[in-house]
Amino acid sequence: MIVICSALVALISYASLSVLKKSAFYKPSYLSQHVEPSNFDYIILGASTGLTTLNTELIDSLNHTKGINLAMDDTALATQYLMLQHFIYEGKSTDYCILAPSVFDFDVTDSVMSGNDYRFMMFNDRDYVQNHYSTFDGTDANLLKLSRWFPALGVAYYNVEILYPALQATVKPEKRNRFDANGNYVYPLSSSDDQKINTSTTFQIGFKNPWLMKIKALCETNNIKLIYYISPLQGYSVMAAPQINEVINHSDVLQNKKYFYDDIHVDRKGRKKVTELFADRLAQIME
């Protein structure tokens, strides 16, 4: 009984990961299997702020460039480093890397695994993915690590996130999980009134997160120019440490509540406005 059950679980788990690996459901697989160009002018790495603030389709139409948004929600800089490794491993290249994490992540010094790192599980036969999971402690990291040899551990633990998307992907391999063909996602229009933001609290970020150094080093090794991006915040103004040069700071460019979906995310209107500003600044840098 135990043998039959274990065999079935292992088979289903292996099949789930194989299907997801070939699908477009999560971004790592999408990048690996469904993104044809291999040379980009820029890529966007980051968390939900990067994902929902910068619209690469609009940037490309304004600047006549080729970019892709590789940001994923609920991820920290460690995962963004992993995504950059994944991008390079897939044989792709870019001139610029726009790093747009959660603004609070720039100064985080303790390392905790991100909630969505299971999205790389189907690539855990690769050393850089395994090394990433080995960086962390705890049940989640250990199971993801062990699922290289025992896929059932990771698939059962993340059954909602892996098995059922795999079933969807079996029927519809092109289905993407909340991102468009360019990797972008947008929040709906804000329900906030047309109201000016009067007060603003200022704080400074010092770029102390140790993962920033790793991302910077990896970019330098691969001739990628790194640009830090600080996305708009409602009622906050961020001062970047002066020693960091390549920063596009949009923390206080939106001074009306109607542009915000919540305190740290813009809505569709806000995204358009900020993306236009960003495209203009990026064009200057690229010149």
Binding site: C5, L8, I12, D140, V155, V160
Partner: protein, 475 residues
């Protein structure tokens, strides 16, 4: 240590192997191992409260032996009183001290007198209500000359602390469990296999049904104002399945684990949602507690021996005390009171024992089953709500019928998925239980194929990430 934790997955095989390696030696070795591993199991949660279990064990062991040699009735009563005061005193202090102080202050404040009595930050020791009742049953049975006291401290300590049922029951009787620790156990493959099947079934109830239901139940009961009447009603029903899956799942695992050690524990749940009236529900739900109250409270109060008024009084006392046993909150007392009120018509019309010898159900009884389930569901609202006011508001929001939308259950792919899990798992539960009821079985019996099917369901529909605590741990 939780049954559905990695810790327990490591702990159980080690204890199991050591236990059966010791079978060639005197039974005291096995009992000592049971005691040590049970203390370790308990200390995993909080080692400080081990002292309470050890205290209860020593008190009742000594009282039991003294009762045997006491030659006067007054001395025997004094000894029994010592045990009751020691055990109920600890339970009262840890579980009810703050409740009584707060209720006392509130009562005086209603007539304008503000008292300044401070409450204490008391942590409720896990399982105190369960092992206290278990040890008390031993002393009372010795006092009543129903059982002989044991002179073996290892045997008695194993009886009090046996880890599968230490923290959430079943509340065993000394008459059933104590002799099992006094005799040699031999490994029996059939018993062990039936234990494994029961563990699988219990894990299914806990990890698939209870923990998936908890996803919605917690959201609904924490923000009742945000949901339609239909969503609230479904939320209450889901709580009914959550608490059943959670508690009976724990009991099944406990009974199954005990069988691995050659110990047979009593049945604690007997398909309660197939009950045809409230009286039958209480013969099928938390049987170890309801029979405890029957034997040690209802019957000593006079049971049904006196006139009708006295019988009704006794029923109300038992249900209210039973509610209060669950927790120091008025919600539990009201919950007990509701069940007493629902029981009353059956008692008066002498129909409270109607289905006592007939487990099998007929299709024509379906309306009775549904009505009983509905009544139990309404009572569960008080059990789950934080306060009586919240529960009243919850029921008011259901009956005010402010909408039939069930959108909250399907408004995202994740919620839709959880809803599907719940529907599928409840259907599986009811089918398996229905078959068991019709076959007049005490528990769901799994074949190899069914066990594999259930294990697959657990693997791919169970909640492994951030599972809920067992609800009855708080009692």
């Amino acid at each position: 240590m939780l049954f559905n934790s990695i810790d327990f997955v490591i702990f159980l095989p080690i204890v199991f192997a050591c236990y059966w390696l010791l079978r060639r030696f005197h039974v005291n070795y096995q009992n000592s191992l049971v005691v040590i591993s049970s203390y370790l199991f308990y200390a995993w949660w909080d080692y400080r409260f081990l002292s309470l279990i050890i205290f209860s064990t020593i008190v009742d062991y000594l009282v039991g032996n003294q009762l045997k040699i006491a030659n006067t009735e007054s001395k025997r009563k004094l000894l029994l009183g010592c045990s009751l005061i020691a055990n109920l005193g600890l339970l009262g202090f840890f579980k009810y001290y703050n409740f009584f102080i707060e209720s006392w202050i509130e009562a005086w404040s209603k007539i304008g007198v503000e008292l300044e009595i401070s409450t204490l930050k008391i942590i409720l020791p896990v399982g105190i209500s369960f092992y206290t009742f278990q040890t008390l049953s031993y002393t009372i049975d010795v006092y009543r000359n129903k059982i002989e006291p044991t002179h073996n401290i290892f045997q008695f300590a194993a009886f009090v602390s046996f880890f599968p049922q230490l923290v959430a029951g079943p509340i065993e009787r000394a008459k059933n469990l104590l002799p099992q620790f006094g005799s040699k156990r031999d490994f029996d493959t059939d018993t062990a296999m039936s234990g494994i099947y029961l563990i699988i079934w219990g894990l299914f109830k806990k990890m698939v049904i209870a923990d998936n239901c908890a996803f919605f139940v917690n959201q609904i009961f924490n923000n009742t104002g945000n949901f339609s009447s239909a969503e609230l009603f479904v939320g209450a029903m889901l709580f009914g399945f959550q608490i059943y899956g959670d508690f009976s799942g724990y009991s099944d695992i406990a009974i199954g684990v005990a069988r691995l050690f050659g110990i047979k524990l009593m049945t604690n749940f007997s398909f309660p949602y197939f009950s045809r009236n409230i009286a039958e529900f209480w013969r099928r739900w938390h049987i170890s507690l309801s029979t405890w109250f029957r034997d040690y409270l209802y019957i000593p109060l006079g049971g049904s021996k006196g006139n009708t008024i006295r019988t009704i009084r006794n029923v109300f006392v038992v249900f209210i005390v039973s509610g209060f046993w669950h927790g120091a909150n008025w919600t539990f007392i009201i919950w007990g009171l509701i069940h007493a009120i629902l029981f009353l018509p059956l008692l008066i019309s002498n129909r409270n024992r109607t289905y006592i010898n007939t487990n099998r159900i007929h299709l024509v009884q379906l309306p009775q089953i549904l009505i009983t389930f509905l009544l139990v569901t309404i009572a569960w609202i008080f059990f789950r709500a934080d306060s009586v006011t919240t529960a009243n508001q919850y029921i008011y929001d259901i009956i005010s019928f402010n909408g039939a939308s069930l959108e909250s259950y399907v408004n995202s792919s994740k919620r839709l998925l959880f809803s599907l899990f719940i529907v599928i798992s409840i259907v599986i539960l009811l089918i398996f239980e229905f078959i068991a009821v019709q076959k007049d079985q005490e528990e769901v019996k799994l074949s190899n194929a069914k066990a594999v099917f259930i294990m697959l369901i657990i693997c791919f529909m169970g909640v492994f990430k951030n599972p809920s605590d067992f609800i009855y741990f708080q009692f």
